[in-house]
Amino acid sequence: MNTNDGDEKIRRQHFGEDGKQMTIRTKTLIVSSIALSTLLTIMYVTHLLSLSTNYVILSSLAFGVGFLVIFLLILDKLVLSRVNHLTEIVRDADTSRDMSKRFLVKGKDELSNLGAAINRMLMELQTSENNLRRIEENNRAIMGVMPDTICEFSKDGTLKRWKPAKNGDLPFLVTEPVGKKLRELIPIQCSEQAENHMKMALQTGTMQDFQYSILREDGWHSYESRMAKSGEAVVLTIVRDITEQKQAEEALKKEHEEGEKKAQQFQVVIDELESFAYSVSHDLRAPLRSIDGFSEILLQNYNDRLDDEGKDYLNRVRLASQRMSVLIDDLLNLSRVTRDEMHHENVNLSALAQKLTRELQESQPERHVNFTIARGLVDKGDANLLQVALENLLSNAWKFSRTREWASIEFGRAKNNGKHTYFVRDNGVGFDMAYADKLFGAFQRMHSNTEFEGSGIGLATVKRIVNRHGGTIWAESAVDQGATFYFTL
């Protein structure tokens, strides 16, 4: 309430009161009329007392002078001193730029209004100046913070002033750029382009962007320059050293090219493998066919001329060639697993396992096997490859549990350290963990061929499939206590 009153008082002092005003003219006329009428009245009264004419003249003169003095005093108070004060304020504002002084407004006449108006203008000027100063400081701060080189060019392309970059690097050909034209500052090949950009910036008022390079002792330095119109005949330019950026770009491009080349080479190797696999598939089997075929024909047609030993040998020949055929097939499958493209999709592993176990049971219906398959196991991967993997694991479980009266085979998923881990478990003959590291090697077997047939390639195939899905596979077992194979995808 106190401040309000104080503020109100200051406001009235600076800007005057609202309301009816009485002009100086009116005031002067009124006062003069009063003075004159007083004088006349006195003169009339004195005249009535019939004083001598000299006295009358003298007294008129005295009153005249008195009147003049009063008039002058009034004039001074109302007009002259105030005008003086006003002039002082305006002069101060003009010459010494001091806008803080204000005219004290009293009353509501013309000079009051003039004073109030001048006060308002001064205040506005002061605010503008403050704003301007703030903006300038802001700009200076921004420019100071920017690590790039900043220059100002005049319309004809001469550099007027500049601020160097934080790292001290000069994006020019000379060390003293002030007063130089564009073609003296940057290489000839680029300067024409730069001049055009500058013209464009001035004409269109849009920002122009271009790059140029300067060759120094330590190699090429690349710069990016941005120009913008900053006033009718001024172009502001910001130059940034992009050498590192450019080098990174070049390196990336080279990496890309090398990557492409490697991919091409890789493709060549794959194509060669493809044709190799094809020829293996056809050419290696033909002689095997002959070996097996003619041995069999011998057995059939020369049955009576062969003793038991001879027949035995021929049988071994046949078995060997058939075994070799299986090996070739397995190898081919393994190579196909590596070669073929993977198509990622959602695969229902539970359904897959159901199908495979059903087929296994159908192949030997007399066996008693307890299948436990977890439901709803779905994961992302290549459907064909995952089927091959599960087929291998389940048929292994089937094969190695056939010694049991009641075999049990389980397929499910568990959480191991937060990761989904699939497993295939059987209660078959198991294997010795001491040799576990050999388990997934190609052609590595944990059992002899007489105990369990097999080529030793199934698990190598599964491992490769799991690896291609970005997962790992391992196993746990003990002799005669079944085996569990774990894998992630």
Binding site: R289, I297, R318, Q322
Partner: protein, 149 residues
């Protein structure tokens, strides 16, 4: 029962012997003609070249065609067989060791009636050949023989 003629197009001598052995085991009445490559096979079928004195109207009842043949690929032979009016309807069974999916698809696309893979196991192979003979020469009603005018 009338004699049936089988044309075997096979270039490998061992395979030739084995296949004929299997064929003869199934039915001795069948006559087996052998062409050792695609060119010879086409000469046989159309009565040209070295077979100019063969009556072209005597079409074989079954063609067993290997794919891996010298000079012309088996598929090309198949296409030529299928593109000629005289031989268009003759049953052709591809007999090959190839396991390539592309061969399988192309064979059927080019008009093969069947596709059998040669196995290493001779007993298995023998049985397959017998079944083929049984089916195409006995069970199946053969297409009419096209008479050459």
């Amino acid at each position: 029962m009338e004699k049936k003629v089988i044309l075997l197009v096979e270039d490998a001598p061992d395979d030739e012997v084995l296949t004929i052995h299997a064929l003869e085991k199934s039915n001795e009445l069948n006559e087996v003609a052998v062409a050792h490559d695609g060119v010879e096979a086409l000469h046989y079928l159309f009565g040209t070249g070295s077979y100019s004195n063969r009556k072209a109207s005597d079409m074989p009842d079954l063609i067993l065609l290997d794919l891996k043949l010298p000079y012309i690929h088996g598929l090309e032979v198949l296409r030529r067989i299928r593109s000629d009016e005289r031989t268009k309807l003759v049953p052709v069974v591809i007999l090959t060791s190839s396991k390539e999916e592309s061969d399988l698809i192309e064979s059927y696309k080019s008009g093969a009636n069947g596709y059998i893979r040669k196995t290493v196991d001779f007993v298995q192979f023998s049985s397959a050949i017998q079944q083929i003979g049984q089916y195409w020469l006995v069970l199946n009603v053969a297409p009419p023989k096209v008479s050459t005018s």
